[in-house]
């Protein structure tokens, strides 16, 4: 919203300025001890220069800018709203929908809503103080200071932006390299995979051959016994797996309950919750007691000991002829190799398909982790990875989610698209949704999380600066940003 004077001829311009200054001087006489009604305001008060000609007197009447009505010229700025578009009251608060223009000589001109005219508050947007003229309050002209501050801040921002842009370029370069590297890697891996597959096939054939040629080897232990032991051993291993799984499930449930206990709303007075917490505490006490005297490990150890005591020949694991076992080992090794390559390929492919931004600038940050200490918690976030919240008291850690997508805008063509990331499907909140993080990125010379908040239960917002979002000036998004910064001043 740059308002250049070049549109108006200089003489006219200085005339307008003079009229306005004169007007302000006159106004200051009206500032009595109480505020005063201001009679006969200039028809140009609150009008921007480019529209001044629309407010020139061309007879006794004047037509609203939307053409909705014709009113006496005197009715402009008479502190009564006549026009539906509010155009007759540019300088007062009489119309709900009009804008007041602050010239802010020495700084950047701006508009404020007419509801802010003579409301007893010096609007920061009107550094010239022209928005308050009825004497309720005196607003000093601070345009010089404001402008100095603004220019300074702008310069600082500009400096940071310039740095950011430079770093971003490096990121882009780095990203390009990563992309090329990954593509090459994929190429290589695919070739390797083909080789690996052939190897597996070959070794499988070899193994089969040996197996077919060697009938059952002589048994070192009675067959039935051995078979039974083998089965039991397998069963024990399966059961151990089950126990581990159950332990994990108990741990999960305990962590859910712990979460509920710590995070439930104490003022909710939900008896079901309170009962559950009490039951959890009791259970935990019992459980911890049990865990201390847990004889599970003993059983296991006993089993291991006893198993070791069994004479080797009784054991189900029968020594195979080395030829056969070698062949099997070779086959399994090849199979594993193939699997490894396949996994590697998936990894590289997923990286190649990851959306690293407009110009692949975010690839350089892939899996870089940043953290933020809020006092109570330390938050950490790995780009395109996961986000966690760690208690600074008991160091318990909560999963806040994994990278899901970019959400800065509807369409990826919109430059804002790559300014906001969503991490989701974190640990579920008690009585609430799964935790998630919205990461808001702003241009900066380095990568840093500035703040973390939880505006709604379990929905975290992180503000972060990063050079990756420092775009060039001629970009829409940047202009938008500058304007925003300007508003804040």
């Amino acid at each position: 919203m740059a308002h250049t004077f070049s549109l108006i001829d200089p003489i006219k311009r200085s005339l307008i300025i003079h009229i306005l200054i004169l007007e302000l001087v006159i106004l200051s006489f009206f500032t009595l001890s109480a505020y005063a009604k201001v009679d006969n305001l200039s028809k140009l008060l609150g009008v921007e220069e480019s529209k001044a000609h629309l407010y020139e007197a061309k007879g006794p009447d004047w037509t609203c800018l939307d053409g909705s009505a014709t009113i006496p010229y005197e009715a402009i700025n008479d502190d009564f709203c006549d026009c539906t578009d509010g155009s007759d009251e540019p300088g007062t608060s009489a119309c709900p929908n009009s804008k007041f223009y602050c010239r802010n000589v020495g700084h950047i001109s701006s508009f404020i809503s007419s509801s802010r005219v003579n409301d007893g508050v010096c609007e920061p947007e009107c550094c010239d103080g022209s928005d308050e003229y009825d004497g309720k309050i005196k607003c000093p002209n601070t345009c010089k200071e404001t402008n100095a501050e603004y220019t300074k801040k702008l310069k600082e921002l500009e400096k940071l932006r310039t740095q950011g842009i430079r770093i971003r370029k490096e990121y882009i370069e780095k990203g390009r390299k990563i992309k090329t590297k990954n593509a090459a890697e994929l190429n290589r891996l695919e070739i390797e995979l083909r080789a690996a597959k052939i190897r597996v096939k070959e070794r499988e054939v070899a193994l089969k051959k040996i197996e077919d040629s060697k009938p059952d080897t002589e048994q070192l232990a009675p067959k039935g016994n051995r078979e039974r032991m083998k089965k039991l051993h397998e069963r024990i291993i399966a059961l151990k797996g089950d126990i581990n799984k159950l332990h994990e499930q108990i741990d999960t449930l305990l962590s859910i309950l712990k979460d509920m206990k710590n995070n439930h709303n104490q003022n909710y007075h939900d008896m079901a919750v309170k009962t559950a917490i009490k039951a959890y505490d009791e259970f935990l006490e019992e459980y911890n007691k049990d865990m201390e005297t847990e004889d599970g490990d003993e059983v296991e150890e006993n089993y291991e000991d006893n198993y070791d005591d069994i004479p080797d020949k009784e054991k189900p694991q029968i020594e195979e002829p080395s030829e056969l076992s070698d062949a099997r080992d070779a086959f399994e090794e090849a199979e594993q190799e193939q699997k490894d390559i396949e996994n590697h390929i998936d990894e590289v492919k997923s990286k190649l398909s990851q959306d690293y931004g407009l110009e692949y600038e975010f690839a350089a940050l892939d899996n870089e982790c940043f953290s933020y200490d809020s006092g109570e918690y330390t938050y950490s976030l790995c780009m395109f990875g996961s986000a966690t919240q760690k208690s600074n008291k008991d160091h318990s850690s909560t999963d806040l989610g994994n990278f899901a997508k970019w959400i800065g805008a509807e369409s990826s063509n919109d430059p804002r698209y790559y300014t906001r990331m969503l991490y989701e499907d974190g640990a579920r909140c008690w009585n609430g949704p799964a935790r998630s993080v919205k990461l808001y990125l702003e241009c900066g010379a380095d990568n840093q999380i500035l703040s973390v908040s939880e505006p709604e239960k379990c929905e975290y917002h992180m503000r972060m600066i990063s050079p990756a979002v420092c775009l060039d000036h001629n970009n829409d998004h940047n202009n938008h940003n500058t304007e925003h910064k300007h508003d804040e001043l």
Binding site: A69, V121, A272, P455, E456
Partner: protein, 910 residues
Amino acid sequence: MKFLFGNLKFSKASVQTKFYLFFLLYFIVSALVVTAVKRQDFKTCEQSSFCKRNRAYADRLTANHSLISPYSVIQDSIIIKDGIISGDLINSENNLIFIFELHLLEIGAARVRINEKNPLKPRYDKAKDWALVQDPSYTLEYTLISSKPDVTSLSFGKERKQAVSIYHSPFRVEFLVNDVPIITLNDRGFLNIEHLRKQVAPGLVDQSNGENDKIIDDENDLDKGLWKETFNGKEDSKPNGPESIGLDISFPGFSHVYGIPEHASSLSLKETRGGDDSYSDPYRLYNLDVFEYEVDNPMALYGSIPFMMAHRKGASAAVLWLNAAETWIDITKNKEDKHRLSSLLGFGKLTPTSTSAHWISESGVIDVFAFLGPTTSDIFYQYGLLTGFTALPQSFAIAYHQCRWNYLNQEDVAEVDENFDKYDIPYDVIWLDIEHTDGKKYFTWDSVKFPTPEKMQNNIGIKGRKMVTIVDPHIKIDDNYYIYKEAKDLDIFVKEPDDRPSVFNGPEITMPKDLIHHGGWEHRNLHNIYGVAYHSATSKGLINRSNPPRRPFVLSRAFFAGSQRYGAIWTGDNFAKWDHLAIATPMLLTIGISGLPFSGADVGGFFGNPDTELLVRWYQAGAFQPFFRAHAHIDTKRREPWLFGDPYTGYIRDIIRERYALLPLWYTLFHEASTTGMPIIRPMFTVYPEDEETYAMDDQFFVGNSLLVKPIVNEGQTSTEVYFPGNEIYYDYFTHKKVHGSGKVQIEAPINKIPVFLRGGSIVPKRQRIRRSSAAMRTDPFTLLIALNKYGNATGSLYLDDGETYDYEKGHFIHLQFKFSKRKLFSKPLSLLNNDENLYAQSISSVRVERIIVLGLDLKPKHIYADCIDGSKIKRELQFGLPTTNSANVVIIKGTDLLITEEWVIDFSY
């Protein structure tokens, strides 16, 4: 700390400087169901032994017509002196003596007190110290009509239009107005005073304990709870045994009774002992924190006002049952009055329905006030004189409040504040809920989240906005916490029966009844006044803190009769559901007619997430509540007005702006309430007392006498039937168009519109400038909206003062009477001081009337002349404002230089 105000959220009890320990982790309750309200967490009458006993007592009398009340006046014991009629009663079942007093009061009411003559120890009688402004004075305007052996009758009041008859055997009191009985006590014989007694060892029979044994002989389980009872595993030790009181109070000839808040129920109270659409349990008064309460239910909620009003054509009456213990009220309606009523009253073809209430309280004395009207406004005034009128709030308090549990930190507060400006939505107050404290240690501050509170407050204070903080009335146990330590050192905590400080662990999520307060009183006696005690202390503390004193703003969730003297209340933790939006109207109307007009329901619903339509509708309804605040639970999604996008954000903005435009009307109504007791939002029947159609109507109401409002409370609804009473002209408030037809009319109500109508005959003062806070409107010009009635007349008023201090008590205010009659509009100041002595009038001496809108003129005026009465300005012609219409229906007068503080006349000539 300029903008800090206290706030009271919980109801949990204690007296004055007593604090109540609260340690949340130690709840032990066995219920386990996952739905909304946990009914089983709260007692039914059946589970409350004294309620059960009194109900059984009543049932016995009702079932057996040969049984009569055993209480009678002892022969020749009646003494009449200085407005007090006193005497002794005897209970023939146990020969115990009781003393009764009947006070004839100056305020147009009477008081009946009954106590044991020689109680074992004093019964609790201090509820009056909290509820009443002062002990009311007796009138000497009375005449003894008859003094016979069976009845004593007096007439009283200046014109002797009121009368009381005391029937001796059985004891019965009847109040009459113009010779028609309107209130009777013990008409049905339910008077029951359980005398204090010593516990006798099991197996022995206490000779003095006769009344229950004889009347209730075979119900042994009724005796179970006499000396001890348990609820959900919590034991009430009941060291004093049974001490309940019960009495029936009937309104002969009245089919509708109202009041006894707080219940999520209809305005006209329902029957509780059978009948159509009746409740099975009595209405209960016991201040409780009910999690996700149910609508259409007589269960107790956060506050209690034991005030009941009855209304019919030509008469209104009311009672206050002044008791702070747990109270249950059974309501029955009789089609025919078995006690001689139909024959006595000249109702013609009408079959009168009488309504009777059976009041049951756990302890204390019988202390009943009877307000004799005859009109509803008389009753509001009489009740206000007794318990106090609502305190005139600061002007910001009636503007829009933005609240959430919780705005997280200073940045959050700044962002919310900025967004209101960005979207040009006015608001006056942002709230910080309990998370602003350091670990819920109330009166402390979380300096991590809010490191520079003064700066934070100044940033919003510059724009005329305020900040309110919330505390809960319990004290965390922590030796490093100064308040805990002070209270411990002073030994002022509420005590367990064994003298230890009490820790929160009671039944029904509140304090156990056998805890001991200051003075040795058991909690059971005073449970319902803990909230008002806390409210009063907070309010007085705030007044003392500022010099010159500024009016405090203290919002409480708990309340009792008299709470209106200390501030506002809200209806507690409601739900983001349509039925909760709907129930807010009858709840607020009920609370309003019970002397507490400054009330509101959380906009949006506290629990849960309202969808856009519900939220818009809730804002529309909330804008016409006396207290207008959006609030949300910590687990809910953010719902600040700008989060919904256009057009919805615009609809919310529009209605909040409309609230601000109408602030002059609201403030004037608050002033009226603070001097006359008139409710601010009024049930239809109080404005049209002769129209029976309105008696049970509680989905539409009047703001003052001028605006008829019907909130839309159903999903997807875009039109509704509005009842237009009084054969009067009504105008659409927003479009200024006349409503066609009267009585029930179908009205369009698209999502952006709440049906609001101007009643013909009213003048509404407005301020139409859009500002960001009410403080910024202080010197804005006025608009007068004049809605003429069918005779071409209208009246209205405007009250204004500095909205902050008590200077108005010294006359620094303006009070204008507007009158439109015979095509002339008069503005007449009623102020006490001349403008040159009146500091407030001076401060707005150049504020103009910028616009006058007249609806319903029969002929459009050709010229409009204004004339200042003081003659300082000559008669001059005013201009028409745009847009002008060709019809006479809407005439807009433009921007005059008429000053609001001056007296003037405007002549609308042909």
